[in-house]
């Protein structure tokens, strides 16, 4: 892996419009049962504008930034050797249907441990007003040649 990736900031992704049915589809796929994830009226009763996305929904938006990283011509990352090591979401507020989200990727660290490399990718996700919503942080392990 190219150590010069560390500190690189990528251009913001195309805006992602969070659809109500996408939130409900994702919620069902992760076995969510809370009505605030599924029922717009329950969400409004709890003070939200529309259904609230499950805590890991941001991965759908983050995915666009990881695609940017893997497509970077000088990354030196062999996608077939990538294993997901760690994942974290740190929220200012939950994602709600109707949000228009943009993600900006920063490669916060690149480390080499023996034959393996580890890259930590932080995707900061903001709404249409530019306010922070959630930061998704992935550590990817790139396994060395066996």
């Amino acid at each position: 892996m190219n150590p010069e990736l560390q500190g690189r900031v990528f251009p913001p992704t195309e805006p992602y419009l969070v659809g109500r049915e996408k939130v409900r589809e994702f919620a069902r796929a992760v076995f969510a049962t809370n009505p605030i994830n599924l029922d717009p009226e329950a969400a409004r009763a709890a003070g939200y504008d529309d259904v609230v996305a499950p805590p890991t929904f941001a991965v759908v938006v983050q995915e666009q930034t990881l695609a940017q990283l893997l497509a970077e011509p000088d990354s030196g990352i062999d996608f077939s050797r990538v294993v997901h090591g760690d994942q974290r979401f740190t929220s200012t507020r939950p994602i709600v249907a109707g949000d228009l989200l943009t993600a900006t990727l920063t490669v916060s660290s690149v480390k080499t441990l023996g034959a393996h490399s580890m890259v930590t990718a932080e995707s900061s996700i903001a709404d249409a007003a530019g306010e922070h919503v959630v930061t998704a942080i992935s550590t990817l392990v790139v396994r060395g040649e066996d």
Partner: protein, 141 residues
């Protein structure tokens, strides 16, 4: 809605417990919902070619459902302010038998100033832990 009161919590309290029965259908459903169409999550031949014991659940699927018992306990998904996991072991999903993942959630730490409870998850298939350092921070009143 009656969310749990911060002041009523003690470190070590078990707040939720649930088991999840995964089938291959669960993986296909998650692939569609998330957009992660890596074939190791639905094709045995591809999984075996790359040296895996079988088709695996998406790590992000396991992360996604493991927090749900805490969401139900907190009564509002918006109370989850931070959630992290380490993927320690893959979950192999048998074509007929599926896989059963057991989640136990206990209070790990209490931040009285922020009124945030850290809830630690134990996530296992049988005796094997599949998510390590699985921590959910929940903002409470």
């Amino acid at each position: 809605m009656a969310a749990p009161a911060f002041d009523g919590l003690t470190v070590g309290d078990m707040v939720a417990e649930r088991s999840f029965a995964l089938t291959r259908d669960s993986l296909v459903r998650y692939a569609g919902a998330s957009g992660d169409f890596n074939p190791i999550h639905y094709r045995d031949d591809v999984a075996h070619e790359v040296g895996l014991p079988g088709v695996l659940a998406h790590g992000m699927l396991t992360m996604g459902f493991a927090v749900q018992p805490v969401v139900d306990w907190a009564e509002d998904p918006g109370r989850i302010v931070d959630y992290q996991v380490r993927f320690t072991r893959p979950v192999v999903v048998h074509p007929k038998l599926g896989a059963v993942v057991q989640v136990v959630a206990k209070v790990g730490q209490l931040d009285a100033d922020a009124r945030v409870a850290r809830v630690d998850l134990t996530v296992k298939v049988g005796d094997e832990t599949v998510l390590g350092k699985a921590q959910v921070r929940v903002a409470l009143d």
